[in-house]
């Protein structure tokens, strides 16, 4: 990565990354450019940089996520940070400690970067208001998951060249998805056309006000799409609460070759993971030639390196 720290500070003027909301398109592009460089670094034999040397990064996960947590851990380590993982799901929070008490405890440990995943929307912002360090939102309830949207954008851009003008269909459990919300914001900011396709019970109220076209039928929703992004449907929502059964869901909203046939011939398939093969996606598609799913994981590490580096420019030096 060749961009100097001072340039980063100017082109990404934020102390925290709490969401895609509030980011300018130019700032998103800065992060994507940085991430492109991080991909190169990660593909070298020598992967280590010194941007975060001497810095402490704490990954605070109130909700288990092996994938996101290890991605942030690897990103921090490749930039030279000391990384500590804290899984809080089983510790003091269960004993009634408030999030703000947790923040006070963490403050006393003097971390430089805090990566937070929490099951409640707004929780990461609440923490960010109470701690002295930089905070990265690694997913807060059904609100935002900004690094996922950034890695999706990076993956798309590397394959399609430009995001502007593309038609992206986001399909599945929109209602409970922070990935969907962050993607609406980011893809709109970069000029894509965003569609959502879901059973009506999995669409949140007034979602049409969020700059997306709403479909409930996969065939019309996928028509001429450049990108088909599938979302995970959680088990507890499959058996009657939101959709009647897995087999009915798969029949009407699962992505198979027939439905994908309605998208453009060069349409690509994405999924934030972890996948339920046979629920929202046919294994044939998930593991087929048009799937970018494995590449998304690689881009995840790169994007998180870019975010940590951009925030590092704002860390105090004394």
């Amino acid at each position: 990565m060749t961009i100097r720290t001072n340039d980063n500070a100017a082109s990404f003027p934020h102390r925290h990354l709490l969401g895609i909301e509030g980011l300018q398109p130019s700032e998103i592009l800065t992060l994507l450019d940085l991430a492109d460089q991080a991909v190169e670094v990660s593909r070298q034999v020598e992967k280590k940089k010194a941007v975060l040397r001497g810095r402490t990064q704490i990954n605070l996960f109130f909700e288990a996520s092996t994938r996101t947590q290890s991605s942030f851990e690897l990103a921090g380590k490749r930039l030279g940070a000391d990384v500590m993982n804290m899984s809080v799901a089983s510790s003091s929070v269960k004993k009634g400690e408030t999030l703000i008490d947790t923040a006070a405890t963490l403050n006393a440990m003097h971390p430089d970067l805090l990566v937070v995943r929490h099951h409640a929307a707004g929780a990461v912002k609440l923490l960010a208001d109470k701690v002295g360090c930089s905070v990265v939102n690694a997913g807060d309830g059904a609100h935002e998951h900004p690094t996922q949207a950034l890695l999706d954008a990076l993956t798309i851009r590397r394959h399609k060249g430009d995001i502007a003008g593309l038609t992206v269909a986001i399909c599945g459990d929109i209602r409970h998805s922070r990935v969907a919300r962050s993607n609406f914001l980011l893809l709109n900011a970069l000029g894509a056309r965003v569609r959502v396709v879901a059973p009506p019970t999995l669409l949140p109220a007034s979602v049409d006000r969020l700059g997306v076209e709403v479909y409930t039928d996969m065939r019309t929703g996928l028509k001429d799409a450049d990108i088909v992004m599938m979302l995970r449907l959680q088990r507890e929502r499959m058996s009657g609460a939101f959709v009647p059964s897995v087999r009915e869901y798969f029949r009407y909203w699962g992505l198979d070759a027939e439905k994908l046939g309605y998208a453009k011939d060069d349409a690509l398939v994405m999924h934030p993971g972890p996948m339920n093969r046979g629920v929202e996606i046919d294994p044939e598609i998930a593991d087929g030639p048009r799937s970018l799913i494995r590449e998304q994981v690689e881009m995840g590490v790169a994007v998180r390196m870019a975010v940590l580096e951009a925030l590092a420019a704002h860390l105090p030096n004394k």
Binding site: I100, A121, G122, G141, H143, R181, P204, A205
Partner: protein, 444 residues
């Protein structure tokens, strides 16, 4: 002090309020005049009253054109006594009330234990008599333990001093239970107050359903949760003939339902919290938990519709819905924080916003907090008629001020109006002729 206690520590000195703008909604009176208070009751109040008629030892206060009105009656106040005294005691609530010009408050039965037995009504009344500086009337539970299943001893509770019956924050889901409660309560002339919200439709929801909730990633509560329950209740009123009061409604559609029920001659009344008249869901901003309440704050269109319903008298009463919560219940992510906001101290100043914006006349706003609640509860307060208990406030509708957290008198500080600008402040509060605010002029 409770409804019967009058000048507990000897008779206070007579007071004469001269040069006052007297606003007494019970008499539709808005005129310059004089109020004479002695022996804990209003002796005279009106433009024709001569201050010379007052007892010679009276304290004479020149109001200089400020408003003199009946003390406010707040029909929906949550306290922490018994059981959560760290949030609010009867005494601390009464002090906050005095500052806000509230001279009578109706306490909700949502305490620990729940106020569902005559002995507990008696306990609240005695604690109020011994510790509180304004009148406190308990509302008792409609169902044992607020569980929505078995009815309480409505007759004996009423005899013990309960002025109304409600399950407080809880809604009674079972229509048959509600139907029997109404039928039985009607026999005793008891007022059934209900928080109309369908528990299934609202389950998991934490704010108004719609675009804002979707953007914030929060689960929504649809208007229909309130509308369906309110319509059910009104059907049951039609069936049973009971006197029914919707404790709080939050949207224009509910106001229309109440309007229609009244037009059909049903004994239906409705309240609204001051929060729903002066705030909307946008105030939640980025997850501000002091704006989390039940029912949730709705859209600006709903707020306007509620204001209009108050102006027309479709909505009968304005309440503070004072609900003290501490850091242990509020300092959480939005979805996990408790509902509720304090409001005794800001009830009148916030209501005056509607007057200053010319949305509702002063007389109408005051009626909804004085004579209307008095009528619904069967109280002899809420008016300045000669012979009425001397619960009186003096306020300057023009005084500008800002609510600073450190000035909050309530034991809990969860005010949605922290740092808000107001115009209008209570200068003096008298209960049964005794000054309870400001404390500096309160006799020792």
């Amino acid at each position: 002090m409770n409804g019967d206690a009058n000048a507990a520590n000897g008779t206070p000195k007579p007071v004469v309020l001269t040069n006052a703008r007297i606003v007494d909604p019970a008499r539709d009176l808005d005129a310059q005049g004089t109020v004479i208070i002695a022996d804990g009751v209003i002796q005279a109040a009106g433009p024709e009253v001569d201050a010379k008629a007052a007892p010679a030892n009276a304290e004479v206060i020149d109001c200089a054109g400020k408003v003199v009105a009946p003390g406010l009656i707040d029909m929906r106040v949550f306290v922490g006594e018994p059981g959560a005294e760290h949030r609010e005691t009867l005494r601390s609530a009464s002090k906050a009330a005095a500052v806000g010009g509230v001279t009578t408050l109706v306490t909700m039965p949502d305490t620990e234990p729940v106020i569902d037995e005559p002995a507990l009504v008696d306990y609240v009344l005695r604690r109020a008599r011994d510790t509180a500086i304004v009148r406190i009337h308990p509302a008792a539970a409609l169902t044992k333990g607020l569980e929505g299943r078995e009815m309480t001893e409505i007759g004996m509770l009423k005899e013990a001093g309960a002025v109304a019956f409600t399950d407080g924050r809880h809604s009674i889901a079972n229509a048959r239970v509600m139907q029997r409660l109404m039928t039985y309560a009607n026999e005793f002339g008891a007022l059934v107050m209900h928080h109309p919200q369908d528990a299934n439709l609202s389950d998991g929801g934490v704010m108004n359903m719609g675009e804002t909730a979707t953007r914030l990633g929060l689960a929504g509560i649809p208007l229909e949760a309130e509308i369906i329950m309110l319509e059910r209740d009104i059907r049951l009123v039609a069936m049973t003939g009971a006197a029914y009061h919707a404790a709080q409604i939050s949207c224009g559609a509910s106001a229309e339902i109440v309007r229609a029920a009244k037009a059909n001659g049903h004994r239906v009344t409705a309240g609204v919290s001051i929060n729903h008249l002066t705030l909307n869901e946008n105030d939640i901003g980025s997850y501000r938990t002091f704006f989390k309440m039940s029912p949730p704050l709705r859209l600006e269109d709903d707020r306007r519709a509620m204001v209009e319903a108050v102006r027309e008298g479709v909505i009968d009463v304005i309440v503070s819905s004072h609900d003290p919560q501490d850091v242990e219940t509020k300092r959480h992510p939005f979805a996990e924080a408790a509902d509720g906001a304090i409001g005794l101290e800001t009830l009148l100043p916030a209501a005056l916003r509607l007057v200053h914006s010319e949305e509702v006349p002063l007389m109408t706003v005051l009626r909804a907090m004085t004579s209307r609640p008095a009528e619904l509860l069967g109280l002899d307060t809420g008016t300045l008629k000669p012979g009425a208990p001397a619960d009186v406030i003096v306020f300057d509708p023009g005084t500008p001020w800002v609510l600073a957290k450190e000035d909050i008198v309530s034991r809990s500080k969860n005010s949605p109006f922290e740092d808000a600008r107001f115009q209008g402040k209570v200068l003096r509060t008298l209960v049964a002729g005794r000054t309870v605010h400001p404390y500096s002029v309160r006799p020792a």
